[in-house]
């Protein structure tokens, strides 16, 4: 059977399994969203806490960078003894993966705010907190959002691997398909799973791009 033969079998499969696939896609989306929200909160916090402290920032970037170097298969597996199987170890591992881009962009973004702007805010009597919330964060915002988008794109793909810890989402059909590769059914599962993951990634990226644009001042 050629690749084209396999492909030609996909539409019928799609029609049959449509609602299951949508449900899995939705699960996948949910895992990604929960992960990104958690990761953004944590990474933003780490960035805010350390951007003015050279050693602190370096420590944050080194540690979050190290998470990224652990092969995803291994990381998911390592959490089984601690968190068991299912959604929890999936989200924990994915959060660890998505910290670096967000933390790095938070630190870079906050550091690239023109010191003259911060000084004039200080000279006008804005407190430390007001300077951060009203001046520095809004100015660093587009850079931070870029970090969030990079993490999201990455996480949509890695979340599929969470199937090895029985995680939710499109990883299930992909792994099943891979174990039955060579058959039409195996191809259907792996191909549509991958296709939906890619589409979800593009959709989320577009959505975040729009959110970023809407939440960034027109003056920037």
């Amino acid at each position: 059977m050629t690749f084209l033969d396999y492909i030609s079998g996909v539409p019928a499969y799609l029609e049959r399994e449509w609602s299951d696939l949508l449900e899995l896609t939705f699960e996948h989306l949910l895992v990604v969203l929960v992960t990104i929200v958690l990761a953004t909160v944590i990474a933003l916090g780490l960035g805010l806490a350390t951007y003015r402290n050279r050693n602190g920032a370096r420590a944050v970037l080194t540690v979050t960078g190290t998470f990224l170097t652990v092969p995803s298969f291994a990381l998911f597996g390592l959490f089984i003894p601690i968190f068991g199987l299912g959604a929890v170890p999936t989200v924990v591992a994915l959060v660890l993966y998505s910290l670096l881009p967000i933390a790095r962009n938070t630190i870079t973004g906050l550091r690239s705010v023109d010191p003259a702007i911060v000084e004039s805010a200080q000279g006008m009597g804005l407190s430390r907190r007001q300077r951060l919330l009203r001046i520095e964060l809004p100015l660093a915002w587009p850079v931070i959002m870029t970090g969030v988008r990079v993490s999201t794109l990455m996480i949509v793909g890695i979340a599929a691997i969470a199937a090895i810890v029985n995680g939710p989402g499109l990883g299930g059909p992909i792994f099943q398909g891979l174990s039955a590769i060579g058959t039409q059914r195996g191809f259907n599962l792996a191909f549509t799973g991958t296709l939906f993951v890619a589409m979800l990634a593009l959709l989320l990226d577009g959505l975040l791009g729009m959110i970023s644009k809407l939440t960034t001042s027109k003056g920037l």
């Binding site: 023109d114 003259a116 702007i117 911060v118 000084e119 004039s120 805010a121 200080q122 000279g123 006008m124 009597g125 804005l126 407190s127 007001q130 001046i135 809004p138 100015l139 960034t216 001042s217 027109k218 003056g219 920037l220």
Partner: protein, 398 residues
């Protein structure tokens, strides 16, 4: 708005007492024991070579830099240890890089401090418009713009408006016109003086440019390393009697030419010139020119604004309309400009004189070489008189 009326009239005196800033690990103090009284309502310029500590001294007044020791008084109140954020809301601050908030509109930038002080929306918006007017920017055109849409000169105008938003009695300005091209700088300086003649704030102004100091300062403090005051006096006194070689060197050559910066166009007697209206009859204009002892005639439009210089020859060319013959009436100065500015305009103008116009650009008179020479003679005479007085006094010991 009672609070507002209360605010406009106030300017506060400033006293720096043994103010010192020492950075850890540095042998010498950046600012070493400066004591200085700054009278209310005056512009005091701190000027000195780079690294002399003038900016550090300025930034200790609003405690952007916390002094190591010494005290700061504003209107007699010791503010050395009060809440710094509260203090800064009462002190306007303008820096060279302006530092407008790029993500906020011009109105939001200017309304920031009033907002922090809890003013109502309506009052803030009224104040924003008032300030934009004050710095010569049409409120309806600029209110909603973002800083990136402004030129350097406009940004600095907004910077000044923002610093004055809550009507602070004190304004600190750190080389505010330093990064602006010379022509715009000149204009901003003149606008600034005109503004100050209305608002009468206490202004501490830092620059490294002695000419700017002479032009703007009611008093100048010339500082040497460690913010040691070499001389603190009126520009006139510093130019006529530099305290020592350091001051003399810093003023540089051409002190008498610099003194032209001390006289304003409005203080000298303007020459009158033969003028005519664009819509006047040509024969009438020729007659006016013949009756005058000038070689050319200045044509004004219906609003009394200068338009063209024309000669008798230009007036005989019948084909062209009057607003196209002769030379454009460039080289204009406002009454707030200094004689130095006027001389500058004069030298670059092809007619050899500068036209004085009011803030509506209406014709007021002419400054020419004779006006400038007369002013120089007067200055010479008064400094000679001072020398005679000094010579008459018994010499002091030391």
């Amino acid at each position: 708005m009672p609070e507002h009326e209360q605010g406009t009239a106030t300017a506060a005196s400033i006293r720096l007492e043994s103010l010192t800033k020492r950075y850890p690990g540095q042998a010498e103090s950046a600012v070493d024991n400066i004591t200085m009284d700054i009278p209310a309502g005056e512009i005091v310029v701190l000027v000195g070579p780079s690294g002399c500590g003038k900016t550090t001294s300025l930034k200790m007044i609003n405690r952007i830099i916390e002094p190591t020791s010494g005290r700061i008084f504003i209107d007699g109140e010791d503010v050395t240890h009060v809440n710094a954020d509260q203090l800064r809301r009462r002190i306007g601050y303008v820096i060279q890089q302006v530092g407008l908030f790029p993500h906020m509109t011009i109105a939001e930038n200017i309304g920031m401090v009033p907002g922090l002080l809890g003013w109502s929306r309506a009052r803030i918006s009224e104040r924003v418009d008032e300030l934009l007017d004050l710095v010569g920017m049409e409120p309806s055109a600029y209110r909603a713009r973002y800083p990136k849409e402004l030129s350097g000169g406009q940004s600095q105008r907004v910077g000044v408006a923002r610093a004055m938003s809550a009507d602070p009695p004190v304004l600190l300005m750190d080389e505010p016109f330093g990064a602006i091209d010379p022509i715009t700088r000149e204009r901003l300086q003149n606008e600034f003086l005109r503004l100050q003649s209305n608002i009468r704030k206490t202004i501490v102004f830092v620059t490294h440019d002695i000419d700017e100091a002479i032009k703007l300062g009611d008093r100048i403090a010339i500082l040497r390393k460690g913010s040691k005051i070499a001389q603190y006096d009126t520009p006139e006194a510093i130019l006529t009697a530099p305290a020592d070689d350091f001051v003399a060197d810093f003023i540089g050559s051409g002190a008498s030419l610099k003194r032209l910066s001390l006289s304003r166009v409005r203080d000298v007697e303007l020459s009158q010139w033969a003028v005519g209206r664009l819509d006047d009859d040509r024969a009438h204009l020729r007659q006016a020119l013949t009756n005058s002892d000038h070689g050319s005639l200045l044509l004004l439009d219906e609003n009394q604004r200068p338009v063209r210089w024309v000669t008798g020859h230009d007036l005989t060319r019948s084909g062209e309309s009057l607003d196209r013959v002769g030379l454009p009436a460039a080289a204009t100065v406002e009454p707030h400009a200094t004689l130095h500015d006027a001389l500058n305009e004069m030298v670059t103008s092809r007619v050899g004189c500068a036209i004085v116009v009011d803030d509506q650009r209406r014709y007021q008179g002419i400054v020419d070489m004779r006006t400038v020479m007369r002013a120089i003679d007067e200055m010479r005479e008064s400094s000679r008189a001072r020398d005679r007085d000094t010579a008459g006094q018994p010499a002091e010991a030391g």
